[in-house]
């Protein structure tokens, strides 16, 4: 019997012994994954090759949920482990196994083929060359970590769902060191995509050089009133921090408090927010979520007005809407939770970023973040520690080594006057967050 056809998933589902009459249902999940990780640093090269298979079971009884996960060798204990704690779980409306729609004919899972090591080495070499060329000798690569993985998943429920699907991921994390007469600084940059060939190496090299050299070559800028241009590298992490406000019914109170129950706009008319697993350039390319529900394109903010929510099966029942396919599983050992796929500012009405730069009368172009952005949706505050360029009449006047851009988050979102057409993604939460260049005129703290 091949590893993919050993019937463990079926055995797990049958072993849950659900009593439908008592309101019980179950969901069995299987994941197979292979990945390679190639690390190059001053001490040499490390190659890691990982192949894994894991199972998970969710038991539902009258609104209660319990989760258990294990590798194949302990799969028979999962129903016992889940039942052990099910009684103490609190009830929540909508918690039950998804189904009975069969969205795809399930096939036994065969292990995905191992990613190609030679291509990974070639890709790292290309990035090193791009960085050396871009950095003109002032920037060196301290460490590069390339991870390429593929996985196959299967979800089956006692309510009749049986779906199998696959996905891939490629991530490049680079630590670079910039050295000039002014000193040295190291910085970490990362990019992710669904396939290694979709990693934009030249763009990452450019970002790495800016991140390492701007703090050494520019001068600090005291916060001052002026126009503000946020590069996608700066805007995307901020956009990613907005996502929890759209997570099912749990984000409702938060969103309502910031929009006065929908009476106020969430953002400016230039701003539309979308979650879409098929977005071009997004790091997530998958057909189904962790509950086997097909992903969909969900408009969350339409021209500044909050318009939708991300949901899993349970939240969809509570919201009385179809599920959006946003039950995400980080690992087979984690229960699914609402999360983003590719969550981004819609660039479809955007203009070329150069046009936005020309529109800057006098202001700051934030090119890179120097630390993780602070975004507190509850307190309506944000703070960005960024480096970039001071721009006058659409032309770069001087480099800025660091400055703080801070203020009310709602004011920033409502002040976005125009967006670019240069959508870029960064890894964020369970997926990716993306934004084009954002133009904010006359910001009081830039």
């Amino acid at each position: 019997m091949s590893p993919g056809r050993d019937g463990l998933l079926e055995r797990l589902l049958a072993g849950s012994r659900c009593d439908a009459a008592a309101g019980e249902s179950a969901e069995a999940y299987e994941r197979r994954g292979t990945s390679i990780e190639l690390v190059e640093d001053a001490d040499g090269t490390r190659l890691s090759v990982v192949a894994e298979r894991g199972f998970a079971l969710r038991l539902f009884r009258s609104g209660r949920t319990a989760f258990a996960a294990s590798p194949p060798e302990a799969v028979d204990r999962l129903p016992f482990e889940a039942r052990l704690v099910l009684g103490r779980a609190r009830t929540r409306r909508g918690a039950r196994a998804a189904g009975p729609v069969v969205l795809d004919r399930a096939s036994a899972l065969t292990p995905p083929p191992p990613p190609d090591e030679a291509s990974a080495r070639a890709l790292l070499a290309s990035f090193r060359s791009a960085l050396l060329a871009e950095g003109e000798g002032a920037v060196s690569l301290t460490e590069a970590i390339l991870t390429v993985g593929a996985r196959k998943e299967r979800v089956a429920t006692t309510a009749g769902r049986d779906v199998a699907f696959g996905s891939g991921i490629a991530t490049l994390v680079a630590t670079v060191t910039g050295r000039t007469a002014a000193g040295s600084v190291s910085a970490r940059v990362l990019a992710s995509a669904s396939r290694p060939e979709e990693l934009f190496l030249a763009r990452l090299a450019h970002q790495a050089v800016d991140r390492a050299l701007l703090p050494l070559r520019g001068r600090p800028l005291a916060p001052a009133r002026g126009d503000l241009l946020l590069d996608p590298n700066v805007a995307a992490p901020v956009v990613g921090r907005l996502a929890p406000a759209f997570f099912g019914d749990e984000g409702d109170a938060l969103l309502a408090s910031r929009t006065r129950d929908g009476r106020d706009a969430f953002g400016s008319p230039a701003l539309s927010l979308v979650d879409d697993a098929s977005a071009p350039g997004g790091p997530v390319k998958a057909t189904h979520d962790g509950e086997g529900t097909p992903h969909s394109r969900t408009v969350l903010v339409s021209r500044g007005i909050a318009a939708g929510r991300l949901s899993d099966s349970a939240a969809a029942i509570r919201l009385e809407k179809p599920p959006t396919g946003n039950a995400m599983r980080r690992a087979y050992t984690d229960p699914p939770a609402i999360g983003v796929t590719n969550f981004f500012v819609d660039p479809s009405r955007g203009v070329a970023p150069l046009e936005l730069l020309r529109a800057l009368a006098r202001g700051f172009y934030a090119a890179v973040l120097l630390s993780r952005p602070e975004v507190d949706f509850a307190a309506d505050r944000f703070r960005l520690h960024a480096a970039g360029y001071w721009v006058e009449k659409g032309r770069v006047a001087e480099a800025v080594s660091e400055t703080l851009v801070e203020g009310r988050l709602s004011e920033l979102l409502r002040a976005v006057e125009a967006v670019g057409d240069d959508l870029k993604f960064v890894p964020s939460g369970s997926g990716g967050a993306g934004s084009p260049t954002l133009f904010v005129p006359k910001w009081k703290g830039a």
């Binding site: 640093d41 040499g44 190659l47 989760f67 590798p71 052990l84 704690v85 749990e250 050992t333």
Partner: protein, 451 residues
């Protein structure tokens, strides 16, 4: 879980033979076995919500040859997983697999958890949350509380080395009030009942309304509580002395043996301190744990190393987040010797400044020496006495500058740090701990009113 390491030993003879057969001339390496059991609950201000149980088992085979190293990982911690990993490692390393079995019994005795007490533990956890938040009005809590037990062993070419079993209670999440959201992170390796008490205290403390006062920006003299000082030492001295990136890889390795702090300051990385979360018997390459002096009498002394950076001279600080990741030189417990000053004497020496009680997060750039500490709880110090409590802010400075500005006297008691539990580097978290006396550093830069 206590018997898991014994389970790892059940095929000892065969496992050691397989690993020794894998290694060829000029190669070193080992196999690594891990079992992780995690029982977690999501919790809100209303109590426990959904339970989750996860059992993870894995085996990794690691080979090192010159500047190249290879890791092959498989799920499962039994003989079959080891054979499969060795077969793949051997294929990739260009050797022939050495897999002659001597007929080891396939069925291994399992060390099952004492499951029936799980319900009781859940009830106790629920009660602790209720104690922490007796009146949750105006508060929104989104928390994951987990009881984790991790057992590890290393199979070398000669023996199986037990790294030990680490049990801890951890909690992460967010507390929200109308005015602000506050991240919450807690970890302790104390036994169950004291761990629950500590969690309840930490949660109760974190649930207090954020003070309206904000720290003024600019240069400031700062007294750090023992817990906050542990985070400072971890970031400012610990990370720059992790042996990666060569001899000139950090601000402290570039000034090896130089006096960088006042005489009388002794800082060690000590994984043998069993009362702290970062302790272990042997590191994740099987090297016995030992204490390493980082600063001796104020002078830069040693580095924490693994076999990749120091070969057989590794001082037992190879650590990995889980079996899928290669080990790297990482910190364990950073321990600082006490001095003679009381807290009041340090406040008196400070005069006007800040008293930092709790740091929620921090990061350091070993290359430039710049570090940032995110302060969650602090008080003003006026004329040597504690004043108004302050809202969150950040402190930043340069490692060498800060160590030079360290007051010559440090606190008279070295306390274990409650707030230091998990260190994430390159996306990989390992349990760490610290113990430090209170300290006074002059001239740090406060970045006002962190949101």
């Amino acid at each position: 879980m206590s018997d898991v390491v014994e389970v790892f030993r059940q095929d000892a003879e065969d496992a050691v033979r397989i690993v020794s057969g894998l290694l060829r001339r000029g190669e070193s390496g080992e196999a690594f076995r891990e079992r992780r059991r995690r029982v977690s609950w999501t919790a809100t201000e209303a109590g426990l919500l959904a339970p989750a149980f996860a059992d993870e088992r894995g085996t990794a085979v690691r080979l090192r040859r010159g500047r190249e190293s290879l890791l092959v990982a498989r799920e499962g911690d039994g003989p079959e997983a080891l054979r499969e990993a060795v077969r793949e490692a051997s294929r990739r390393a260009g050797g022939s697999p050495f897999l002659k079995s001597r007929g080891v019994a396939q069925a291994r005795a399992e060390a099952e958890a004492s499951a029936p007490d799980e319900e009781e533990r859940a009830a106790q956890l629920g009660a602790a949350l209720h104690r922490a938040l007796p009146d949750p009005r105006g508060l929104s809590l989104s928390l994951t509380v987990a009881r984790v037990a991790v057992s590890r062993a290393v199979v070398t070419a000669r023996e199986i080395v037990a790294c030990g079993t680490v049990r801890c209670l951890e909690a992460t999440g967010v507390l929200r009030r109308a005015s602000a959201a506050r991240p919450f992170a807690f970890q302790t390796s104390a036994p169950w009942a004291p761990a629950l008490d500590a969690l309840a205290r930490a949660l109760s403390e974190a649930a207090r309304p954020v003070p309206a006062h904000r720290a003024a920006g600019g240069r400031v003299d700062v007294v750090f509580s023992p817990g906050a000082a542990s985070v400072f030492w971890h970031e400012a001295v610990g990370h720059p002395l992790e042996a990666e990136g060569g001899e000139r890889g950090s601000v402290l390795t570039r000034v090896a043996r130089a006096a960088v702090a006042p005489a009388g300051v002794f800082v060690t990385a000590d994984p043998t301190r069993g009362d702290l979360p970062g302790s272990y018997l042997a590191d994740d390459e099987g090297t016995p744990a030992r204490s390493v002096a980082l600063l001796t009498d104020g002078c830069v002394d040693g580095l924490v190393t693994d076999r990749r950076t120091a070969g057989q001279a590794s001082n037992g600080h190879a650590r990995c987040g889980d079996f899928r990741r290669p080990p790297r030189p990482r910190l364990s417990n950073v321990v600082v010797s006490p001095g003679r000053a009381s807290r009041d004497e340090l406040l008196e020496a400070c005069g006007n400044g800040l008293y930092v009680r709790e740091i929620s997060a921090a990061h350091a750039d070993p290359e430039s020496g710049r570090f940032t500490l995110f302060v969650e709880s602090a008080d003003l110090v006026r004329r040597g006495a504690l004043g108004a409590p302050l809202g969150p802010f950040a402190l930043t400075s340069d490692v060498l500058w800060a160590l030079r500005q360290l007051h010559t006297e440090v606190g008279d008691v070295s306390h274990p740090a409650n707030g230091l539990g998990l260190c994430v580097k390159g996306g990989e978290g390992v349990a760490v701990g610290g113990a430090s006396p209170a300290i006074l550093i002059r001239g740090l830069t406060a970045v006002r009113g962190r949101s």
